[in-house]
């Protein structure tokens, strides 16, 4: 994931707040997230130095991007531990799914209060490449979107006579503070067949990106969005 973000490269002035979801026990990934944020901060400092040299006043709002309060690391339970029985797996998966729902609503205990410039706890975009946890995060996002959509049609609990607060904008799009767009990146190791996570997510995820041309253009069923070839992202 981090080699992808590094190569992208992730621009912290566009993606201003970052939440990293890691599986329980995956200290390696958590450490990588801290390291990656450190590199963003470093790059920003260098850019600032450069700015000072050139006497270019920098926008105050972008001056501290990449600082500690611009990201958070959340640990969710594993959907299925290695060698865990398939009998108990559905329960641990639900547990993981529940934790993901809380993360997406900004209610997970690991999450710090959001900085003031962030107006909504809901992420605009969710980028995943992991196995089971990625499935949980994306399905949780889809569930929230479904609930949101149903509430917009059937406004429960609104006093009669008062118009329900419009939940959809005029063109039927979700409001700007409730995007929850999902992207799943299939593993570089999969050349001609999608992984189980990829197959499960194909009908649900907004964009499914593949790193080998043979996997391009797969669809869950006719007329749905195709998988997209984006080249080797991990290189």
């Amino acid at each position: 994931m981090f080699s992808m973000l590094r190569r992208m490269p992730l621009d912290p002035s566009m993606y201003t707040y970052r939440t990293y979801v890691v599986s329980a026990g995956d200290n390696f990934s958590a450490a990588k997230a801290v390291e990656f944020e450190g590199s963003l901060l470093n790059r920003n400092h260098k850019a600032k130095e450069q700015g000072k040299k050139n006497n270019q006043p920098r926008d105050a709002s972008t001056s501290d991007l990449g600082a500690v309060d611009h990201y958070t690391i959340v640990t969710v339970p594993r959907a299925r531990r290695v060698h865990q029985s398939y009998v108990t797996a559905p329960f641990s998966t639900l547990h993981c799914f529940w934790a993901c729902l809380r993360v997406l609503r900004g209610l997970h205990p690991d999450q710090n209060p959001l900085p003031r410039f962030i107006h909504s706890p809901y992420p605009d975009i969710i980028l995943t490449n992991g196995p089971a946890t990625a499935v949980c995060v994306i399905l949780a996002a889809k569930t929230l979107r479904l609930v949101h959509y149903l509430l917009s049609i059937f406004p429960f609990g609104t006093p009669a006579g008062r118009k329900a607060e419009p939940r959809l904008t005029w063109d039927g799009q979700a409001p700007l503070d409730f995007q929850l767009r999902t992207i799943f990146v299939e593993s570089w190791a999969r050349v001609t067949t999608l992984s189980l996570s990829g197959k499960l997510l194909l009908p649900f995820v907004d964009r499914l990106l593949v790193q080998w041309p043979a996997l391009e253009g797969k669809v869950a069923w006719k007329g749905m969005r195709k998988t997209e070839y984006v080249g080797a992202l991990v290189a």
Binding site: M8, R181, A189, V230, G231, A232, A235
Partner: protein
């Protein structure tokens, strides 16, 4: 053959069998006289083996059977370790050419785990990828074959590893650099950044 020459630069072959799954057949194949002979014929001086958690016995049996200096080693110096918590990057770099330290470019033989493959590809040292036939749902072989087809690696069966040495030497001169460069001949595709910006509704 001037393998006795003291001034000859060292040339290292590094083998990694991986840390999670056991891959004893690859270990047995590289600790075989036939393979060591092939190494020596291609000018190799050293072999370093990451033998994994259950490979120690095989490695130690080999050391007993072929003590240093025995003809079965074909003059190759051999070292081994079980695995390295900090990753293999440091060890892999020892196969790279370094004139000041008297090292010529060697090769890496790796199981087909994507982490090890990527790490080795970035070094631009000839890489032989050996899929583990014991792994279920074997998509590793697909990855190895595709990378071979594109000219990045040599894909080999563990039984055939001594023939792969020569193939790796041939690859050295025509091998492509990693990461792939997007040439004019290649079809233009979207980048991750574009897909994200697209989903975010940024227009530029």
């Amino acid at each position: 053959m001037d393998s006795e020459d003291r001034n000859q630069p060292t040339k290292l072959c590094f083998v990694t069998v991986g840390a999670t799954a056991s891959f004893l057949s690859l270990l047995l194949s590289v600790l075989d006289s036939k393979f060591l002979e092939a190494l020596s014929q291609s000018g190799y001086t050293h072999l370093l083996v990451q033998y994994g958690k259950d490979g120690q016995i095989i490695y130690e049996n080999f050391l007993v059977k072929y003590p240093a200096g025995s003809p079965g080693r074909h003059g190759i110096e051999i070292g081994g370790f079980d695995f390295n918590q900090a990753g293999l990057g440091e060890v892999m770099r020892m196969t790279k050419e370094n004139k000041s330290e008297g090292r010529s470019s060697g090769m890496i033989i790796s199981h087909a785990g994507s982490g090890s493959i990527l790490e080795a590809l970035r070094l631009s040292v000839p890489l032989v990828v050996v899929p583990n036939p014991l792994l279920k749902d074997n998509h590793q072989a697909e990855l190895a074959n595709e990378l071979q087809k594109q000219g990045y690696v040599v894909a080999s069966h563990h039984d055939d590893i001594s023939n792969a040495v020569e193939k790796a030497e041939a690859l050295r001169s025509r091998m492509l650099t990693w990461p792939p460069v997007r040439g004019p001949s290649q079809r233009r595709h979207r980048t991750l950044n574009e897909v994200l910006a697209d989903e975010m509704g940024f227009s530029d």
